[in-house]
Symmetry: C2
Subunit: 422 residues, 2 copies
């Protein structure tokens, strides 16, 4: 086995292979050993001693060594060395286990095809929801189902930030900085808080669930950066919590994929989800609903997922990357959500007579009726107003939101979060 990339994930895998060599050999039917390693710098202290393994400066060279059967890619990044080494490994007929959601979201189709063309397998359990065996459950456990919907909370950092904002009553910027200090954020934080990382994951689950080519560009993305502590307080008053929720669903109009802040009932399993935990809900025509919950990241959980894939390979279990031959994956037509839902709106209104009436009139003109409305005390000229609508189409809402900005009473752009009464 060859291991490049050490930033956060390598040591966990090395520890398992070292400390559990007997257990792994018994379960896998053969020893699992590290042949060689690679990293950006050789002499950094990584908490594990690597001197007993061969060293390669170049991960591409590592990937194609004769004594490597399985290349474990933990470098990250959608292109660059990770992609080059993965391609080199697959071309050389080596199996690849990767935690790299960005690479698969961008190049999953080509890499899956490359693996098949070379009789290799390419597996990615660790790329989606850390330690939860969700790819395996979907690809294998539910293989007798037509999957009807996949949804869940797939980014632990965002869930940590939102949970912490609520529990500590702190604004987004402060908690964001805390998370940064704690090392919870990606080097480019937008990957986390912009919903991109979670969107990558959703696009991979969609491919497995619906037999479609990975289509990350088709994911409607919205991050958590616009969520204010006022939103969190207001929705709590109404019995909701805000989660960065992904939903993928095949419809007659095409594949709906969205990753965006949504309100969920605080008493629901998703609403109860604490801190860095992930939860994925798989719905199939036979199994109804299976819910999986577990740690979304971290050294141990990620290493657990990587080793699950490695052990499959040791045992001779060879599944195609997305559960069926790459050539049979169909192109997915992205579709906007057409399922009506209630929405939570926040806007700032000029403090003048008739302002609320104007907003109500704009909503009514788009056929949207109001379920709840709250206006809070305010110090400045613009008053925060919160509205929960009855069920409406997103298209009608977008029309109304646009129309609001042409009135002379709404200050700035209103914020709209979908309410999912799961």
């Amino acid at each position: 086995m060859g291991l490049p990339g050490w930033a956060r994930l390598g040591p966990g895998v090395v520890k398992i292979i070292r400390q559990k060599s007997h257990l792994l050999a018994v379960r896998g039917g053969r020893p699992v050993e590290i042949s060689a390693v690679s990293a950006r710098t050789r002499d950094k202290d990584r908490g594990v001693n690597l001197t007993s393994y061969a060293w390669e400066d170049d991960p591409v060279v590592l990937a194609t060594r004769d004594d490597v059967d399985v290349f474990v890619e933990l470098m990250g990044g959608s292109d660059g060395p990770a992609k080059a080494a993965t391609e080199a490994a697959l071309k050389a007929g080596k199996d690849v286990v990767t935690a790299n959601k960005a690479m698969l979201a961008m190049h999953g189709q080509a890499l899956a095809q490359l693996a098949e063309d070379n009789g290799a397998v390419l597996r990615f359990e660790a790329a989606v929801s850390g330690g939860i065996p969700v790819v395996k459950s979907l690809t294998e456990g539910l293989a007798g189902n037509e999957i009807t919907r996949v949804l869940g909370v797939m980014n632990g950092t965002c869930n940590y930030i939102l949970t912490r904002m609520e529990s500590a009553g702190l604004p987004y910027d402060v908690v964001f900085e805390e998370a940064n200090q704690l090392g919870y954020l990606e080097a480019d934080p937008e990957l986390d808080v912009g919903g991109i990382d979670a969107g990558h994951k959703l696009s991979l689950l969609s491919a497995v669930a619906f037999g479609t080519q990975v289509n990350f560009a088709g994911v409607e993305l919205e991050g958590i950066g616009r969520i204010k502590i006022e939103d969190i307080r207001a929705v709590a008053d109404m019995g909701y919590r805000i989660k960065l929720l992904g939903v993928a669903q095949m419809t007659g109009r095409g594949l709906e994929q969205r990753m965006s802040p949504c309100l969920v009932p605080e008493t629901s399993p998703l609403g109860q989800l604490p801190g860095g935990t992930n939860m994925v809900v798989l719905e199939g025509d036979q199994v109804e609903q299976v819910v999986l919950r577990g740690p979304g990241a971290g050294e141990g959980p990620t290493a657990s997922a990587v080793m699950g894939d490695v052990m499959d390979i040791a045992r001779g279990l060879r599944v195609t990357t997305f559960g069926q031959p790459a050539a049979t994956l169909t192109e997915a037509t992205p579709a906007k959500s057409a399922t009506p839902a209630p929405y939570y709106l926040r806007m700032a209104l000029q403090d003048k007579p008739g302002a609320l009436a104007k907003v109500a009139a704009v909503l009514a003109a788009s056929g949207i009726s109001i379920d709840q409305m709250r206006q809070y005390g305010h110090a400045d000229e613009a008053a925060p107003v919160l509205i929960v609508t009855h069920k409406t189409q997103r298209a009608a809402l977008d029309e109304a939101l646009e129309a609001m900005q042409t009135t002379d009473v709404v200050v700035g752009a209103p914020v709209a979060f979908r309410i999912e009464n799961l």
Copy 2:
């Protein structure tokens, strides 16, 4: 593929294979077809037309037909035709997929060995918690972990009865009869309400989790028949719900396996588990905790699990029954729980002065202190008294319970349920 046994599960599997032949062939890389079927009576209406399949009166003959690669055993029963046909299939080198927890709980070790000796696989996802891919998650997804604990609610019928008792305020006997009318109970209801079925499942998960031979006899079993509506009301007052909870844990003293009514916080995921749903919690040294929730029974979910195993076989995925060679499974020494826990006690006390003091003295003599005590109004001579203890060893509690019955104030045998603050 050959299918015997139709009671409740056969039609679901047939429907999937008929309606999804294209999907299954794409995913599995080969067509999945039914060659022949068998059942106790041929001409019963089962909601699916079986005339296109060859018919065998004898499941043993079915199991060994040349055109059968996979024998799907849905007959049930630990011995008799199910075991005979399973053995015949394995001896003939046919792979077997079974939903039969009783057979595996009794003969799992021998059958796993027989499968390996004949180059066949024997898989049982449908035997544990219906549609939830828990065996796969544990055997494969978490193969890089040392499993530290497995626990959960594994019998949907018991969970239905307990949930319904609480929501409708009905006594056990009435809800038991309702469940019977609805067809939720096994032909021998004691399998459900006596905790035996759930105990079978726990013993199978233990084997996979800890690499031990299945040891159903080592499961400490207690059913739900002693739970009264008064218990459910009283524990609800204290913020708890009663669940039939299974816990398996490897300790320095041996393998602890218990399946018994326990109090769990009503706000916990286990406490929130509704009706026929199952929840299994898998804890490993790397992954920390993964929770799986889904339907515990039913035609669709069970067929989903059966087809997961069948599709693995179609794809050429061949895992040993319990995740490692049968010969390497160690004998498990059963150990009684030595983890201290608080307990809920219910007893009937003679209505005479000093009765409560005597009970308190007995508990104190065993070193058990009382956290809460409630005495409810009563019509008869004996007054129901409910006690929640502080943490104590089960052995000390058993001693106290025995001593209580030698006093002249406790009427009948006290009831004790463990409190798990999960």
